[in-house]
């Protein structure tokens, strides 16, 4: 794309529309209304604040299972063995930079990956979601292309709910990042739940110390 062409697009319709839309908003908008603070007074708690770290982990694992994923605890050294055990037929298992002794996802054809193993930054107890920034994916498309996805999360990185999750992450730290909360699914045919719509057919969350 040449810069010249880009400029010509911007200078035609879109530039006058920018001015006209902003002018229309200024004419139409109501008087300023206050912005409430999501932290005060109550932001919709999903749990008691007395919840212990172990209880949080348990609730997180239940939520992963409820979303048709599976969750289990392993030692950091046991990731490779657990993946082989759960996916014995996988002919290509990959990870970012070949971590945990898998193939490097950037050195293989990502569309042929059977099992992709990614590091998640944190898990959310209320919904079983795992935050995976781009740096944990290797390639942006990889976690969506793989037939099966494994997310490795530290047991100490489980937070209570989405508010706590957004307190901990910076959404623009990487160019892309996603909460992943289960295997790909659809219910578009008569509301029948089908796992493995376009993305991974299963999700395994491994909790490491």
């Amino acid at each position: 794309m040449s810069d010249e062409k880009e400029t010509s697009t911007r200078n035609t319709g879109t530039k006058t529309s920018r001015a006209s839309i902003l002018a229309a908003v200024r004419r139409a908008k109501p008087a300023p209304l206050p912005l409430p603070d999501p932290r005060e007074p109550s932001r919709g708690k999903t749990s008691l604040s007395s919840e212990s770290p172990d209880e949080l982990v348990e609730r997180f694992m239940d939520a992963v299972e409820a979303a048709a994923g599976s969750a289990s605890m392993v030692d950091a050294a046991g990731v490779r063995a657990r993946v082989s055990e759960v996916y014995p037929e996988a002919s290509l298992a990959a990870s970012v930079d070949g971590r945990w002794d898998f193939e490097d996802v950037r050195k293989v054809d990502a569309s042929n990956v059977d099992v992709l193993v990614c590091a998640g930054m944190l898990g959310v107890a209320e919904n079983g979601a795992v935050w995976v920034p781009e740096s944990g994916m290797g390639l942006r498309a990889a976690p969506f292309l793989a037939q099966h996805l494994v997310l490795v999360v530290s047991r100490t990185e489980i937070v209570e709910d989405m508010h706590a999750a957004y307190d901990r992450i910076r959404i623009d730290e990487d160019g892309f990042g996603a909460f992943i909360a289960g295997p790909s699914k659809t219910a578009d045919i008569e509301q029948s739940l089908v796992i493995g719509a376009h993305g991974p057919r299963s999700l395994l969350v491994l909790l490491v110390p």
């Binding site: 319709g13 879109t14 908003v25 912005l35 790909s184 045919i189 008569e190 376009h198």
Partner: protein, 465 residues
Amino acid sequence: MSHDFMELPVVDHAANAERFNADVERTTWHDESLWHIRGKRDRAAASVEGWEELRELASQIKSHMLSRLDHYLVQFERQAEANGVHVHWAADAAEHNRIVHAILERHGAQRIVKSKSMLTEECGLNPYLEQHGIEVVDTDLGERIVQLMEEPPSHLVTPAIHVRKEEIGALFHEKLGTDAGSIDPQYLTEAMRQNLRARFLDADGAVTGVNFGVAETGGFVVVTNEGNADLGVHLAPVHVACMGIEKLIPRADHLGVFLRLLARSATGQPLSIYTSHFHRPTPGRELHVVLVDNGRTNQLARPDFRESLKCIRCGACLNTCPVYRRSGGHSYGTTLSGPIGSILTPGLDLEKFANLPFASTLCGSCGDVCPVKIDIPRQLHTWRQVAARAGHLSRGKRLVMRWAGRIFGRPPWYRRTGRVLRSLLRLLPRKLLYGPHNAWGRARELPNVPRQSFGEWYEDNRGKG
């Protein structure tokens, strides 16, 4: 694409609903499917302590955003451009389509994969691109089904909610070569997975909608269960995200509020499977955001109706609406059907959609489930008044309303009319009472007629002395 009914001059919801209702078994099935989703939504909402506070918070954040929309639009644009995202502004549907086409054309893109976007439906992007020789494949399973059927979506979250699996089986047999008579959802979904995977890998452009734009960071969030948006955008060299200007929220931590509400209200899930946050393009590729007005600033200028712009497109008001459930999305003749469509669409073309605010019993359930607390029933009622004042009521309704107004405004007339009607209801033969003029009596018995009104009874028993 045959969006034929969109071109009709005036939408007659009642007539369309009658056609839908002709198939009693299908109507019952449709009703029950949606009520099932409503039930899941209720259980999910009940599981969150402080759900009502969360709704209130979401409502206030959106109200605040609308009151400073110009500020947040400029902030979003500045941040996004600093992130290397190209930002475009479209005053209307035509400009939106031209901009998207120009971007794709510059990239020589011919095979586009698109994830669900009600905005691009609203703008008619698919037919526009197809006219310009660009192939567009909708990749959400439900949207792909209705695209292959050459129909518009009938529901903003589950586009093919009106289609039976037997019909999908026959459609896939014809279009994808699945086994004749196979209707197993697992099998049919797998067939589409295989078919679309090749298209994802082959696509040279991707178009998505936007669930939330974050002014503070200049990024945006797209939510799917299937992973189709991500497969599309991460494989194609250019990603165009189309976003209504009202989709902004001020800050990143507000996402926690809205995401906790969205999926629970939509499908009863605690969170959609994929909540993707886009801030910068993949190195060597391009990321574009098109900000679209298309009537939104007009709606913002209407104090009675501007709250409708807070909608986060969860579909809860459709799932709960007794009229939507029994008339189907297509009967509304709009991109957005159901209660939310009935308050947003008359603002685009009052004459054409004057009928829609009447497609409601005003039972209030839509307002009760709305995660951002839009006062939908009040707006439906107010739109009725606007439509009446503008002369858009049918002749029959106008006549009845005029006479009702006169009678209700004059107590002696009211008492006399009551006496006459009570006698007539007792004396007239059934055949006459339940004639074609009596729409209410088509499926219901009229109430039993008391001998006297409460006023008369009071006069007789308590009034004297």
